[in-house]
Symmetry: C2
Subunit: 674 residues, 2 copies
C-alpha cells in the first residue's frame, strides 16, 4: 500500500449505491485535494498553541527538565514519590508556571487564560504533578482568591503561590459527593468566643478523597453548613488549619485514603473535625459574613443562589480538568500513530514485506476519528478557556454569559474526559502487547486519568447540569434549583416556553434560512458541507430538548412523582445534553477553520473537521433516521465518506500528531514509537 501518495480512485468497492461524496474525496484536487506532503508542522502547531504559545513552551521546557519524574513514579515507594511530586511542584512554581492566574500584586501572573494553557500542557507529563498542582493552585488557591477577601489574600496568597504553604480543598464527604448541599460537616458560630466550631456531625460526613490532606497540607478550605444562633444558612467555606508542624491539628483526625487506581503521587486523605475552633475571620466572606455579635449577612438573599454563586468558582477547576483530559489524549494518540507507522504485521499487500499497521483500513478507523475528535475538543476547550478568562478577569460581567460558561465548562469537561478514557484505551489496544508494558506511558495514562470522569463533577451529573441550563434557558431561577426544583420548573410554567423555543417548525424555518434548499435540504446538501453538518447537529439538539420537556410535562400532568418522572426521562435528558455539547464542539472547530487563511494548514484542519463532524453524525445516525432527517442511502454515504477521509488522513498522520508538540521525553519507550 502506498504510504505517501494519495490512494487511487476506487469508488467501486464501496457498497452500492455509490454517490458523489466519497468519489469527490478520493479525487486529488477535489475539495480535500490538499497538498499533503506539505503540511507544515510548525504552522499547525502555532494554530494549536494559539495566543499562549510562550506559556505552553515554558511548560514543555519544564516537563523535559523534570522528565525523571516519569521514572520515579515507578521506582520510588509511595511516600518518596509523593515527596518528589511536591518538590517538582514547588520548583515549577518558582518558574512562574503555576501562579499565572493569580494577581500580580501577590506574585502571580495576572492572566487567567495563561493559567489554563499552562495547566493543560502540564497534562503531557506525570499526572500526579498535574493533579497536585490543580489541588494547590486551582482548588485551594482558587477558593482563597475567589471566596475570600483581602484579609485572606494578604495572609495566604503569596505563600501559596510559591508553594511554601500547601492547602486542601475539603468539600467532598464520604457520604456526599455530587450533592454538596447535603454536606454533614457543620460550622456553628460561638458569638461569645467569636469563633466557628467545625464538627463532623454524622457517620460518612468526614471529608474524603481530599488532595494534600494525607501528608502535605497545612490548611484546608472546609465546606460546612453554617449555623448561627440555631439557624442554618447553607454551605460556606472556612480556612481551617489541619496540620501543625507535620502533626494533625487538635481536634482534626486525618486518615490516608491509601492506594488508588492511579495518581499515587497525590496524598489524598479523609478529615474528621471534632469541635475544631477557628476565629470568625476564617470564614471566606466574599459572598456572606457573620458579624462579631452573630448577625448573618449576605448580598445574595436566596440561599440556593448564594450556594451556586460560591460553587461557580468551581468552573475553573472544570475547565482545567477538561483541558487535561484532552491533552492526555494527545499523548496516547501520538504514541499509537507513531507505533503504527513503525510496526509491520502480516504480508497483506505483497508476499515479501509485512504491511504497516497504519495502512490497514480498520486501524485507520480505530485511530483517525479519535485523532480528529482530539483536534475538535482542543479548539472547543480554547473557546471555554477564553470565556472563562473573560469572566474571571472581569471583561464579561453579565450573569447569563457566566451561566452559559458554567454549562459549557461542565459539558466540555464531560466530553473531554470521556474522550480521554476512550482514546487511551483504544491507543493501548492498538499497540498490542507492547502497549501493556509500563514504560510506554499507557499504564500511567490509563490509571491516572481514570478519575477525571468523576472528580470536579461526575460526568453524568454534569450533563444533567447542562440539560438544566438548556431547559430553563439559563433563566435567573437556574441557580436556585435542585433536581426536584428543575423538574417542577420545567413541568410548570416554563414548559410551554421551552417547547416553543425548541419548536421543530421554527427550527426548520431557521434551517431553511441557513440552507436554502427547500424542504429537501437534508437530502440535497453536500455531506461535506459544514453548514449541513451543523444544521443536523442543531436539529437533533433542539428536537431532543423539546421531547424531554414534553415528556416531563406529560408525567407531571398525570400526577406522577416528579422524581420518578425524572428518573424515567433521565437517559433522554443526558442524551439531549450530550447532543448540545457535541454541537458546541463541532461549532468551535468550524469557527477555527473558518478563521484561517487558505493554505495547507486550513486544508488539513478542514479534513479533520469533516472527519469529526461526520463521525459524530455516524455514531448517532440511527437517531436522525428515526426522526426522518437522514435517508438510509445518505447514512451509508456518510460511513463511506468516513472511510475515504481516513485514507486522506493517512499520509499526514505523523505530521498531525507531531503538531501537538508533545515533548519526545513524554512519549518514553522511544524505540517503540520510532
Amino acid at each position: 500500500m502506498a504510504t505517501d501518495t494519495a490512494p487511487p480512485t476506487d469508488p467501486a468497492i464501496e457498497s452500492a449505491p455509490e454517490t458523489g461524496a466519497a468519489e469527490q474525496l478520493e479525487r486529488p484536487g477535489g475539495r480535500h485535494g490538499l497538498p499533503q506532503a506539505e503540511v507544515d508542522v510548525a504552522a499547525l502547531r502555532a494554530v494549536l498553541d494559539g495566543r499562549y504559545a510562550e506559556v505552553r513552551d515554558l511548560v514543555r521546557h519544564n516537563l523535559v527538565e523534570y522528565s525523571s519524574i516519569l521514572d520515579e513514579a515507578e521506582t520510588l515507594d509511595r511516600d518518596a514519590y509523593r515527596g518528589r511530586v511536591k518538590e517538582v511542584l514547588v520548583e515549577m512554581a518558582a518558574t512562574g508556571q503555576t501562579g499565572m492566574g493569580f494577581p500580580e500584586s501577590y506574585g502571580g501572573g495576572g492572566d487567567v487564560g495563561a493559567s489554563f494553557a499552562a495547566f493543560e500542557t502540564l497534562a503531557f507529563g506525570d499526572l500526579s504533578v498535574l493533579v497536585k498542582t490543580g489541588v494547590q493552585f486551582g482548588l485551594f488557591g482558587g477558593a482563597i482568591l475567589h471566596l475570600g477577601t483581602e484579609r485572606h489574600h494578604e495572609r495566604y496568597l503569596e505563600d501559596l503561590i510559591t508553594g511554601k504553604l500547601l492547602g486542601c480543598f475539603a468539600m467532598t464527604e464520604t457520604g456526599h459527593g455530587s450533592n454538596v448541599q447535603a454536606l454533614g460537616t457543620v460550622a456553628t458560630y460561638d458569638a461569645e468566643a467569636r469563633e466557628f466550631v467545625i464538627t463532623t456531625t454524622e457517620p460518612d460526613a468526614n471529608k474524603d478523597y481530599i488532595g494534600n490532606a494525607a501528608a502535605h497540607g497545612e490548611l484546608a478550605v472546609v465546606f460546612a453548613n453554617l449555623e448561627v444562633a440555631g439557624e442554618r444558612h447553607g454551605v460556606h467555606a472556612f480556612v481551617v488549619p489541619i496540620r501543625v508542624e507535620g502533626e494533625p491539628a487538635p481536634g482534626v483526625r486525618i486518615e490516608d485514603d491509601g492506594l488508588k487506581i492511579g495518581l499515587n503521587g497525590v496524598d489524598n486523605g479523609k478529615l474528621w473535625f471534632d469541635g475544631v475552633r477557628v476565629p470568625r475571620e476564617a470564614l471566606l466572606n466574599r459572598f456572606a459574613d457573620v458579624s462579631e455579635d452573630g448577625t448573618y449577612s449576605s448580598d445574595i438573599e436566596n440561599p440556593n443562589r448564594r450556594f451556586f454563586t460560591m460553587l461557580g468558582t468551581l468552573v475553573q477547576g472544570r475547565v482545567c480538568v477538561g483541558g487535561a483530559g484532552i491533552n492526555a489524549s494527545k499523548v496516547a494518540i501520538a504514541i499509537a500513530v507513531r507505533y503504527a507507522l513503525k510496526r509491520r504485521q502480516f504480508e497483506a499487500t505483497s508476499p515479501d514485506q509485512e504491511d504497516l499497521l497504519l495502512d490497514y483500513g480498520q486501524h485507520q478507523r480505530r485511530l483517525f476519528p479519535l485523532l480528529a475528535q482530539t483536534y475538535a475538543l482542543h479548539f472547543a476547550q480554547e473557546v471555554v478557556a477564553q470565556q472563562c478568562h473573560e469572566v474571571f478577569s472581569g471583561e464579561r460581567t453579565d450573569e447569563k454569559f457566566r451561566r452559559e460558561l458554567e454549562s459549557r465548562a461542565a459539558g466540555t469537561k464531560a466530553l473531554g474526559t470521556w474522550h480521554a478514557t476512550r482514546t487511551i484505551q483504544e491507543s493501548r489496544e492498538a499497540c498490542g502487547g507492547a502497549g501493556y508494558i509500563a514504560e510506554n506511558r499507557f499504564a500511567a495514562l490509563k490509571a491516572d486519568t481514570d478519575v477525571f470522569t468523576t472528580f470536579e463533577g461526575d460526568n453524568t451529573v454534569l450533563l444533567q447540569l447542562v440539560a438544566k441550563g438548556l431547559l430553563t434557558d439559563y433563566s435567573s431561577e437556574f441557580e436556585e434549583m435542585d433536581q426536584l426544583g428543575m423538574v417542577r420548573f420545567v413541568t410548570g410554567l416554563a414548559v410551554e416556553t421551552v417547547v416553543e423555543k425548541t419548536n421543530v417548525h421554527k427550527l426548520l424555518e431557521r434551517v431553511r434560512d441557513l440552507l436554502p434548499g427547500g424542504e429537501q435540504w437534508d437530502q440535497e446538501a453536500g455531506i461535506l458541507d459544514t453548514d449541513y453538518q451543523l444544521a443536523m447537529l442543531r436539529f437533533r439538539e433542539e428536537h431532543m430538548l423539546a421531547g424531554v420537556a414534553r415528556r416531563l410535562k406529560r408525567g407531571i400532568d398525570q400526577g406522577m412523582n416528579p422524581g420518578q418522572v425524572f428518573s424515567r426521562v433521565q437517559d433522554h435528558v443526558i442524551h439531549a445534553a450530550r447532543a448540545h455539547v457535541e454541537r458546541l464542539v463541532v461549532e468551535a472547530f468550524a469557527d477555527k477553520v473558518a478563521s484561517l487563511e487558505d493554505g495547507s494548514t486550513k486544508a488539513a484542519l478542514g479534513l479533520l473537521l469533516d472527519l469529526h463532524a461526520l463521525s459524530v453524525i455516524e455514531a448517532d445516525r440511527a437517531w436522525w433516521m428515526e426522526h426522518g432527517r437522514l435517508t438510509t442511502a445518505r447514512s451509508k454515504e456518510i460511513s463511506r465518506a468516513i472511510n475515504s477521509l481516513c485514507r486522506r488522513v493517512r499520509p499526514v498522520a505523523r505530521e498531525l500528531v507531531d503538531a501537538f508538540g508533545v515533548p519526545e521525553e513524554m512519549l518514553r519507550a522511544r524505540d517503540l514509537v520510532g
Copy 2:
C-alpha cells in the same frame, strides 16, 4: 421510587407513538410478570454453575483460603509478590484445582471441561495467580501434552502438574505477535551431533512478554522455524532449558519485561538464544519429526495446514481467557450494583431522603444491559467450553466441528474480553470516587484485565479469523490460508458459493419458515419474541457476509492489489464477524432459557435474554434501518422496551448479581457494597 414492587403502569411518558410492547412489559402478570421477590438465588446459581458446580465450589473455597493475596498484591514489592503468586499456584495445584485437564495417569483430573470451569472461576480473585496458572498449566503444560508425545509426557507431565517444574510458552517475539509464521527464531538440525541449534536470528526476533521467563521458569517450549539440511519446514516447538539452578542456561539471555500496566505478579520476560543446543528428542514431535540422519517427516503434508494444526492447540487458551474476562466482569458488576443499592444521591423523589443510585433510570441503563450481557456471555462460554471438551477428550473428531470450535472460541474470547474492559470501566465510574480507591478491586480489575483483549490473540485479528471461517465456510483449505490467501480464495472460485450461501432471498425464505408472518414479518412479530430477535441477528450476519464477499470480488475484478482490497473492506469484515458472534451469544442464551422448566428462574433469565437481545439490536439499529429491516417506529419501540425491561430488572438486581457466587472476600471494601 418503589424498590421492591413492580413500577406502576406508565406508558404515557414514553415517547409517542406508543405501541404494545412497553405496556405489556409494565403490566404485572404479562409475559414478564415474574414473581420477582421469589427469585431463588441458589436455584439461579445452580443453573449458572452447571455440571461443574463442585469444581467451581472448590475454586471458591481456595480463593477464600488465599484471599490475603489481594492485599499482598498491594503491599509486597514486585519480587515478593511474584514469589507469593508462585507459592499460591503450587499450593492450589496440590488441591487438584489446576491439573483437571491432564490425564489421570500423570496425576491430572482427566476432564478438560472441568479445567475450564476451574480456570474461569479463578478469575474472581487475583488475576496474576490466574494468568500464571494459565501460563503454566494451559500454555506450557498444554504444549507438552498436545504437541509432545509419550517421551515428553513421561518426562515432564507429573512434575509440571504439581508445579514442581515451571515452564514458559515462548512463541511471541518482539517483532512478531499475531503473525506467528514470520517468527525469526530458527532451529537448525545438526545431524552429526543429533541436536537442534536454536538461534535468535534477527533484531526484534527475541521472545517477548513470556510468562515465567523473568524469574521462575526452568524450561521453555520455544517456537522456531525449523531448518533441516538447508530446507525450511515452518514453525515447530522445542523444549529448551532456559534456567539451571536459578541462572540462565548457557547461550540463553533473559531480560525482565519490567513493570506492566497490571499482572505484576507474573514474571514476564524476553529471551534470546545464541546457538543453544538441545537433543533431537527436544522437538515436540506429535505432528512432525526429524530422524537421526536428518530426514523430516510429517503426516500433514501441507506446511500451512501443519502450522495451523499445531496452533489449534491454542484454542484452549482462548477459551480460558474468554471465560476469565466474563468472570472478571461479574466481580465488577456485582460491586457496582451493590454500591448503587447502598449509595444515595440527591433528593429526587422526596425532599426528605436522597434516592438510591439504582433507582435512577440512567443508572439502570448503564448497568443492567451489561449485567444481561454478562449472563449471555456466561452461557455462550458454557457452549464453547463444552465443545472444546468434546474435541479434546476425543468425543468429536470431525475436522469441521473442530474448525467451527476454533472460530467460536476466537469470537467468544474477543467479545468476552472487550466486555470485561467495558464493564469494569462503567462499573468503576458508576461507583464514583469510591471506585477509584484501590481497596475495592477496580484498580486490579482494570489493570490486570487490560491485556486480555490482546493476549492469546489480538481481538481484531481474532475477529478476522472468524470472518475467514465464515467466508470460506470452514472449507478444508481454511487452515492453509494466510490473509492474502484468504482474499484470493474468497475472491476466486469460492465467491459465488459464498454469495449463494448467504443469498438474501434464501435467507428470507428461511425467515418466513421461521416466522410465518408473511412479507411483513419484521413489522408484525413481537419484539419480545426470541424468534424475531434471532431472525434479525441472522439477517444482519448473512447480509453483511454476502456484502463482504461481493466487495472483495469487485475489488479483485478491477485489478486492485488484494491487500489493498482487504484493507478497504476490513471494517466491514470485522463488523460481519462481530455480527456472527453476537448471534451465537444470543442463541446460546436462548437455548439455555428454552431448556429450563417454567418457574421464577426461567422467568428471570427470560427477562435478561430480552434485555440483552434488544440491547444488541439497539446498538446497531442504524444498520437494520439502513437495510430496510427496521422501521423507525419499531426502532423507537425497542429503545422504550429496554427502559421498561431495566425497570423490571431493578427489584431483582441484587439477586441477579448474588447468583454469580462471587465470594464476599473477593469484593473487598465490604462497607462500600453493603
